[in-house]
Structure formats: structure tokens, C-alpha cells
Symmetry: D2
Subunit: 374 residues, 4 copies
């Protein structure tokens, strides 16, 4: 079997999640090419070496440009903070490497468009890791929508709620600075929510957004005795309308006490309805208006059957999967696309599509005005 | 014991719900005055007579002005469509009658202000029937907030979702015409949601609102072979900020397939969080940040204990109450206020307060711009 | 319209619940005869007088025998402790009065059989108030079973869990003495559970039962400084088999900390499954094996539609009802049966049927052996 | 770092789950010895070779006796059907190999006792894979009990419900034959339930058990046109009492339509209560009687915090884990025990302890009589 030789850039949270995916994919699935974990790249050599050893990366590099020069690398997995995505991805594409890129796609739409242009020009496979698309329950939602079980959509009611900033001692890390993160939950969480809305409902026609800073100063990560200014919003509320006429609401926050990673949507259509929550990711709630009048109700579907996407490759019915499994599902599809010269969604086109919405939201947050998207 | 002689205007859904409350209140509670169901008023004499007999109203009148002239009436219960509230309430106050008024308060802020002025000038008791304030679970939410268990509030995430308009054959009734209903779910459902937000969080500083008409034409109620234009929005999304800095979102719709009467809120604060849903009205979800780190979680509180407000007067612990019971809770407080010369919340001041928000929302829905409230 | 003149014996918890039903039934339903609340009977004259006045009983009597002699009484509502049921019910039947009898039916099977014989001989209407049969969600369960949606039943898994005895200071009241209550939760709660099992699955073939006394001594109700012996079991677990081959388990306890009045069942059949919980009584969980393989799941049915039994007479869709409403549903059916010379289920036959099971369980609890019932 | 060289016997469902654990353990945890996946053993050489290659086993053997003779094996992982456990485990112990054994422990108590004796005599580490003990939510339950948050236990209400035999076409596989499986769900599922009851409550004093065969004949696995006799029970209900006086009920079945792998328990104690369900394995319900009277309720704890056992080594808060993760948790503890000469629970002593209960249950199922255990 052919191999796909991978390099990863980044070795923190996403470095681990991606490495796990490359390890697991050939165990539970049968990719058309075998992923070879060739090299891990980062700047902290000691930490990097430990990371590579633990996760099975054959070698290390401390300069990603050096990685791109190597002939024994077929694809680059970008698992760095957002502001580094564009430069690496563009260079990787130009070097003819396929690109597996963590989200949020980029800090600006301009960056994102350049990334897309470079990837398309190079003809490489480009994938943007909105992992939630590959939760089996989300894929079942998609299937039900595509089969017409929901009908004309009236409402998308979404929220991505975390709570880690409720603690006032949480330091001013890179996620709270504009230069590295572009924005607060709007980028970090909103990019996921917008991508799911795109996936399940379609494109936005117009939006407005309201942001808020609850806490303006935080201890410095470098020096806890000093404080610095939080540069991004603490929460952002988007409302708007899709091109197909459905209404949208998306609430993103890091101040939802009691919610740890609650990414939820409700979809209401003329024929049926759906609801999902990442904290209970193996289940989908489905209401069918076709049921008899005396037995209408949301079905609580445990999405762990062999007839569901991906999940049958893991364990028997009723045995749930966890957070990291969707990364493995992405890995199998990325590998297959690389092997077959195909594409894999979401890709950089989807990244650009989402950045248009996020930039519009950011603009609305500033001006207080509605922004048309189409 | 003293008596309070009541007249009711209106004998449909709310006429029944109010009549039931006047019947039940002396059975389960001990009001300071005994309600006497003196007269029911309406225009359809035959239906009215049947209604009066069924519910125990001693007599009938077909002209509410005639009711106000009677000396044997101490209070007027207004259970009519919204557009009739102002005229009746003002005249009732001028006639020195206490007023128990169904929601939505009025079609316009101007009407509402006139109602308040009249009631205050007359010195009568005035009550606006936002019944959800008197669900024991909502009162427990209020108690927890007042005791500081939630702390500084970051988020109010509310929704009032119904689905009765998903059926395209639902006729163009009075709730879909501007003259009688002022607006669609914004008034009907939004008034409830805004009132609860006022009750639990406080006043709004600024809002924006987006409305939508999914279905523009419907069969006429009078003639199903003809159609007419739906004059009000089908759904309305409000976002905004409270004066205390908390963010707000309120989603109101009659197109949420699968939701019959889901009135829900989530409140996230620095110290805790709350969640409630009218379809499960006997329960309150409460998250306390004071719990030990390994056992944090939303408590599912069955609010049926004798230590909870009102509910101990019904049945033993664990025996739930239903929709109509909150009306009985309103009745007891209204009666006590009438007996003691006191006040009862929410009252016409709260009605004016909510109409300011609703009119701002309606304006924003038109213009697409944010509206400042304070 | 004809009248049915009622007398009630008992004026505590059940006296209130029954009186409420007689009051409410003509408001929300249209019984074939009008209930007239003629006389309330009890031994504590002062409390009785207050009760009668509050609930609308026209007169009082302090001796139930005197009530039975009166010509202006058509039916007797027995709302006393269990040990008094037999004597009153038999005398009432012999006096030609219809009988509405609270559960548990009787302290012994012999008593119950005598009650049934008397009622049948007299040709009066006899009703045993297992109110849970008339929860709309339970009736929907029955409908689904009767329509074949569940198929051959494999399992009944039931429990009736309360927690009021967890408090060691709870006094030794009549429910903890053999003479007045016959048994502990086996009679009090088990009678409900067995009745529902009869209603939904059928008759038992064989059972075994294990009881337990967690707390043997309690403060006397009369004198808190002294203690007395608890004479009944604290919890009782029944397992067994139905005549149709289904397995049964029924757990009854007053020591289920955190459960206030959780009466729950799960039914698993070849084609479908059902689950219900009294603490969430407006909902029924229904799983249909006929659903497509990728969208199987328990439907969460909010049983508040006009197509559901009884509930459409209360409020619009989505407006839940509470504990006491099932009593009103019993009242309408009892009145109709009295008017039409019909019957109403469950009746004394069902009482005898359940007592056979309960006595068998009590015997098994003593001997530790299985007991055959058929 | 030292190594622990492993051999696995068996390469079906459990072979995969165990192999995954040996792969993952060094990625997410830091075991005191490094597991080396030396050899996989099975009889179907072709399938075995594919299995070994996929999962990273360095070599294969088709005779487990040959494995035990090898010097380069330190521990044996037994992932075979139950009836093979004893012979392999005893020989492995005698060969001085540590043993990691899948459940159910053995077909008979005699076998189990021999296994324990051999392991103890050899002084090897012996582990019995009741994986549910290492779900973080179950460990939190244990912690709460140990800290006294539940108090004296009154009730264990457990069930392990599957539904795969509802399909009448499911063939007569090894799990339905006595020689290979000893019993039906009593062994397969009941062993898990009993182990959790032992872990969380303690030893049993007395039990009774009722079994049932719903379907007596099934198509042969080898030849679908012929049928054979199902040799084991389809469902088994255990009730009983613990030595500490708590009541127990355990329901095991493969006929619970709609339940795929629902392993659930409720624990009620004098001070608090707990509830858990494997289909929702990342959550624990905890009720504390210490909460104020107006805010008592079951806490829904999402057990994904770094303060919880094991789970902090996976992902950040709120990111759930799945079925296979508990196997990894077992792997880390087994490796540490091997490295340190320690023990790891549950072990063969726990296996014997459970078999005593299961054999008593099987006897009771036959005779219909209670069986004392202590």
C-alpha cells in the first residue's frame, strides 16, 4: 500500500489530538494510503522531542520551512495558533504538500483567500479541521436534512458555550490577544458554529452581531503580579438570516458558567426538527412531523449503530465514542482524498466562506449595524 | 370575611383560565378577601351565558361599560384580546375598580402609559398577568439570584417557542392582524420573555431585533376559500444588553416545529447558573460554583416542596402542578393587595416597562438598527 | 340535567384531592350527571366543618352510618385510611349507594372480596381510585400497547420510590402500623404499581418478594419523647412473571433519597418499548422498532394534545397538567357510569385482583418462597 | 524505562479493545513500564496475521501454550471466550506470567478458584477486566461513597439491558450455548453489575434470581436453514440483600428493546443518592441531602475535569471520552502493578467473589429458592 508521509507543526492540545488521529486511523479504518508520521515540528526542542517520541513521529524539526524543503514529506498538518496558519499553509501548498489545517482558518479573510488561492493553484488537497462535521450524530442530521425530513428550514438556534474565563485569575494568554487570535469566542467558537450552519443549512444573507467584554484586565501569563488588557470580546451574539430565508442565532461565549464545551444547535423546519449538543455528542434529537398526531415527539437517537457514518468501525451498538474520534474520521477522509486526488470537506473554500461571515460579524460588532453578505 | 366582587370581561381561553383561578384560590389558599364571581361580560350572549353558568359567575352583561357602572363590582378582570385592554382598563380605573389585566399589556406604549396613569390616579390595585412569574420554579430562580447565588449576570439566553403556525391551513385569526394583536410573537410571547428578564435580571440598555415572515398569506378565518395577508412577523429575534452589563438574547417564534409551548431561559452568572423550561415547569436547573470542583453540575430541582413558594398549599412533595396553577397564585396575591391596599407585581408599571422594550424591538425590526433604551 | 348527590368520608389529603375533583369536573368536562357535594363526613367536627365550607360540601355528618341512612345521598366517596374501607364500602353498597373508593383497596383479600360481593350484589357502581391509570401519558401507553406497537411484552420494570422515611424523626403514624395500613410501601405504593401492571400487561402467574426494615423504631406521633416499633416493611422488592410470559420487577420504597414521588415503569416488547415517570407525568417515552434503522430512538412525547385522552379538555397543546387532574378524569368517568348504569375501571374486581398479588407478595416476604398466582 | 512484553490471546471484539488500550496507554499516560506488544495468538492464522499487523503486535502464534513457553513474554492478555479463561490463566500463572483477563471471569466457581490459587501461588499480577470500574463517573461515585456523602446505603437498583436478541434471526452463537458461555446475560452482563455492586456497596448476604427464556430456538450460526436450542436464559432478575443491610436488585437482559448497552445503577443512602448509565457514561447524577431544603436535587455532573480520575490525561474539560477509554485506564494500572510488584483491582479475588454470587443466582434460578451467601 502506498504511504502518505506527514509532518505536523505544533505540539500542544491540537498536536496531540491530530497525532492521535494519525495513529488510530489505520487501526480502525482502512485508508487508501498508510499515514507515516515522519516529522514533528516546533520551536521548543526539548518539549518537541518528548512529544515526537510519545506520539510516534519519526523525527523532529525546529523550523517549519526546513520541513517544507524535505522530499520525504507529502502532507503538512498545521496544528499551530491561528495567526501562523496562513504563512505555513501557503508555503506548504507552494511546496506541493497537501495541507491538513486546524481551525480557526485564519485571522483575516485576506489571509484565508490567499491560502485558498495557493492551495488551488498548487492542486494540493486542502482540509480545514472543523471536526464537529464528522460526529456521527451531526452526519445523521445532515442525512435527515438531505432526505427532506426537515423540510424548509425556519430556524437555526445555535450556541457554543464555554466557561473557562469565569475564573478571574485565568491569565492573558494568546487566545485573548488580537494579534494571535484575531478575536475571542467569535473566531474560536463561532467559526465552528458557522461552519456547522453552513454544512446543515446554507449560506448567510445578512447578519448582525453584538459583542461584550465582561472582564477588561487579566493577570499576564508571563508575570502574574501584573495585568494586561484583554484585547478580544468575551462573548458575541450573532443573529441573521440565511439565503434560503431561515433565521439564525448563534451565541458564543467563554462565560457560560456550568457549560464546559456545549456546542449545540436546534433546527426547526416545516416537516421536522433536530437538536444536538456536543456535551452529549453521541445522540441526536429528531422530531418528525410525519409521526401520527398522538405520538409526535423528539426521538432520542443513540447514534452508535453500524448504519451510522464511521461509528460502526469502532465498537458494537450502544458503545459510545468520544471527542477525539471525529479527528480520526477526518484523517481517514483526508488520506483517501490524498490517495485518490479528490477533495475533502470542509476545505479552504469553506474556510473563506466562514471568514466572510466572521469578518462581517466583527464589523457589525464594531459598528452596531447589519451587514449584508449576499 | 370581606368580599371582593369581581367582573370578568372575556370568556375564551383566558376567561376560562381566570375563572378557574377565582374558583380555586379560596380552596387552596386563604385570601384576605373572598372573591365573589359577580358578573361575566362578553358580546356573544348565548356563549356567555353558558360560560357564566359553567364557571359560577352569578350574572352576565353584554356591555362592559354597563359593568363599570355597577356598584356591586369591586374589580375588573380583563381577559379580552389585547387591543381592548386600554379602553376597558382606563375606564375601570376611573370607575374606581381594581384591575386584573391579561397580557400582552397593550398594543402601544402610549396606550400602556395611559393605562398606568389612570390606575395610579385612581389609586386602584393594578395587576398585569405575566403568570410565569408565579411558577414556583421561577420564584426559586428569583430567590437564588436575590441571595447572590448567581452573582454578576453575564448572559440571559431566552426563547419562547411555539409551533402552531407551521400548519399552513391555520387561518388568519386576530393574532395575525396588526390592529388586534399589534405584532406577532414579539408581543404575544416576547412580552412574557421580556417580563421574566426584567424580573430576574433587570432593565435593558440597548437592543436590536430581527423579524421574519415565513408565510405571507393564510386562509381567512371567516372564509377558508379566500386568503388574506398575514400582517405580523412569524418570528422575532432580540439581542441586546441589560443596564447591568449582561447580554440578552430572546427568540420568539410560532414556527418551532416540535415545541408546543417552550418558554425557556438560561442565566449565567459569575457564581452560578440557572435554566428553566415551561414545558417542564416544576423543575429548575441550578448550578452553583460553590460546589467542590469534582462535583459541580446542574442540580435538577423538583420544585414541589413546602419550602417553595405557593406549591406547598397544593399537594405533598413530589406531586407536580400544571399550567393553570400560576393563575391561582396571581389571584391570591391580587386579592391580598386589594384587601390590604397594597400592590402586586407585575403591575402596569411593569407593563409600561415591557412595552418600551417591545416598541424598541419593533422599531429595530423595521429599521435594522440598534435602539438605546437607557 | 340529573344530579348525583355525593357524600365524602374523610377530609385529609385524599379528602381534598377528591373534593377538588368534584368541583372541577363540571367546569372542564360535561358529565352526564351533575355532582352535588351534599355532605362531608368525619369525626373531628371542627376540622370537618372548616373542610366542608372550604370545599363546598353543603352539610356535615360525624357518623358515616348516619350518612348512609340519608335518602339524599346517591354515592359515597371513601377517602379514609385503608382499614376503614371495607366496612364503609359494604354498608354503602348495601344501602344502594354507588361507591368511589380510595386505594389501597383494603387491608386483606377477604375484606376486598366482601366489598366486591356487596357491590355486585347491590348492583351499584364501584370504582377504585388508582388515579395513575388516568394520566394521559399512561392512557397513551395503553393505546400503543392495544394497537400492537409494543408487541409481545418481555419486561415490565417498575418502581415506586418515595423518600419521606429517610428522616429518622418522621413519627410512627398510621401508615407505619399494621392494623391501619396492612403493610408498608407494598400496600401503599405497590398497589398502584400492580394496578398499572395489570392495566398495561396483564395478570401475574408467579411472584416472589423481599422486604426490609431499615429503621425499626420511631418517635411516637402522640409523644415525641417515646418511640415505638415500626410494624411494616420499609421497602419491598417484587419480581415475578406474568401469565403472558413477561418478566416483572416492582420496587417499592420510602427510602429512595432524592425521589419524592417517582412512580415509573419501563415496558420492553418485541416491537417497541415504553417508559414513564410520574414525576414527569405529562410525557411518555416511546420506542418503535418500526422506525428506520438509522433513526431508532425513544420519542419524548409531550402528552398534551387534543388527540390525547382527557387533556384536550384542559388547556391548549403544550400546557401541562398536574397531579390532581387524574382525579378529575376519574370523576367524569364515575359520574357517567352512575348516570348510564355502566361500569368504570379500575373497580372492585381490580381491587381483588391486586390484593391477590399483594397478599402473595406479603406471604413471599415472610417465607422467602415463590408464590404461584395462576 | 523498563518494558513489559505482552502476548494477547484472542483477536475479536475484545482483542481489538485490548490492543487499542496497549497502544494508547503510553500516549496519554506515563506507565512505569513500557508495554511491548510482542505476540498475538489465535487459531485462524490468516485473520490473526491481519489483526497483528493492524494493531502492532510484533509476531503471531497459533498455540497459546507455545506463547507461555517463550521467555520474551512477561504478561498474558486473555481476550478469548469465557470457557477458555481458566486453562490459559492457570498455565500462564504457572509459567510466571502476569495475567490480564477479560470478563466474565470463568464458567464455574471451581474454575475461578483454581485460577486465583494459581495466580496467588505464582505471585503474578492478576487483573480481571471489569472495565466499568474505571469510568471516571463510576470512580467519582466511589469517591463520594468513601467520603460519606451517601451514608448508610438502603438501595442498589441496577440493570444491564441490551436488545440484540430481540431479532429472532440472530443466530445461535457461542454466547447462547452453555458450554462456552456458562449462562446468558446473568454471566455476561450480571458479572459486570455484580462487580460494580461489590465495588460500590459491598458483599451480598442473600439473593434470589428468576430467569426466563423468551425464545427457545434460533437459527444455527453454521447453517441458517436449521435451528438449535438456546441453552441459556434470555433474561435474569436478581434481588437480594447486602451484608450491610442494603437491598439489591439487578436486572439483566438481552431483550430490552431500545436499550443497546444500558448499564445503569441507582444508589440510595441515608445522606445522598447516585445514579449512572453507561449509555451516558461521562455523567454522574449525585443528590446530596446536605443541600438546603429548597434547592435539593440531583446534580448532573459532567465528569471530564482534571480533578476527576484519569480523564484529565485525555482532553480539556467538557470533552467527553468513550467506551474504550476505560480499557486504557485498566492498562495503566496493570502496567504500574507489574512494574511495582503491586496489585490492581478488580483481580481474581474479585472474580471469585462475583462467581459465588453468580452461581448462587444460577442455583436460585433453577430451584426458585433464596440462597444465602454469608
Amino acid at each position: 500500500m502506498k504511504e502518505l508521509r506527514l509532518a505536523i507543526v505544533g505540539h500542544r492540545f491540537m498536536g496531540r489530538a491530530h497525532s492521535n488521529a494519525w495513529n488510530q486511523v489505520s487501526k480502525f479504518f482502512d485508508p487508501a494510503v498508510k499515514p507515516v508520521m515522519q516529522v514533528a515540528c516546533g520551536r521548543d526542542e526539548e518539549a518537541l522531542r518528548a512529544f515526537a517520541e510519545r506520539w510516534g513521529w519519526a523525527g523532529i524539526e525546529t523550523d517549519w520551512r526546513r520541513v517544507l524543503e524535505r522530499d520525504d514529506i507529502d502532507a503538512i498538518d498545521i496544528a499551530t495558533p491561528t495567526h501562523l496558519h496562513a504563512e505555513i499553509a501557503i508555503a506548504a501548498a507552494e511546496a506541493g504538500k497537501h495541507v491538513f489545517c486546524e481551525k480557526p482558518f485564519a485571522n483575516t479573510l485576506a489571509e484565508g483567500e490567499a491560502m485558498l488561492a495557493a492551495a488551488e493553484k498548487a492542486g494540493v488537497v486542502h482540509y480545514l479541521n472543523h471536526n464537529y462535521r464528522r460526529c456521527p450524530a451531526v452526519l445523521l442530521a445532515k442525512r435527515l436534512i438531505d432526505e427532506g425530513e426537515i423540510g424548509e428550514v425556519y430556524h437555526w438556534r445555535g450556541a457554543y458555550q464555554q466557561s473557562w474565563l469565569v475564573n478571574p485569575q485565568h491569565p492573558l494568554d494568546w487566545k485573548l490577544r488580537k494579534a494571535t487570535a484575531a478575536a475571542g469566542p467569535l473566531w474560536d467558537l463561532g467559526s465552528h458554529a458557522v461552519d456547522l450552519a453552513h454544512f446543515l443549512v446554507g449560506d448567510f444573507a445578512e447578519i448582525e452581531c453584538r459583542g461584550k467584554q465582561f472582564v477588561a484586565e487579566r493577570p499576564l501569563a508571563e508575570d502574574h503580579t501584573a495585568t494586561g488588557e484583554v484585547e478580544v470580546e468575551c462573548a458575541a451574539l450573532i443573529t441573521g438570516e440565511f439565503q434560503n430565508g431561515a433565521l439564525a442565532s448563534i451565541e458564543t461565549t467563554r462565560y457560560a458558567t456550568g457549560r464546559r464545551n456545549r456546542h449545540t444547535f436546534e433546527i426547526y423546519g416545516r416537516k421536522g426538527a433536530l437538536a444536538w449538543d456536543m456535551e452529549d455528542m453521541n445522540r441526536l434529537q429528531f422530531y418528525s412531523g410525519k409521526d401520527p398526531a398522538d405520538r409526535l415527539g423528539f426521538r432520542d437517537i443513540l447514534v452508535t449503530e453500524s448504519v451510522h457514518d464511521y461509528v460502526g468501525s469502532w465498537w458494537p451498538s450502544g458503545h459510545i465514542i468520544g471527542y477525539e474520534h471525529a479527528f480520526v474520521h477526518a484523517a481517514i477522509d483526508f488520506l483517501d482524498a490524498c490517495a485518490n486526488g479528490g477533495t475533502v470537506e470542509p476545505d479552504f473554500r469553506d474556510g473563506v466562506r466562514s471568514l466572510k461571515v466572521l469578518e462581517a460579524a466583527a464589523a457589525s460588532m464594531e459598528t452596531g449595524r447589519r451587514v449584508r453578505l449576499a
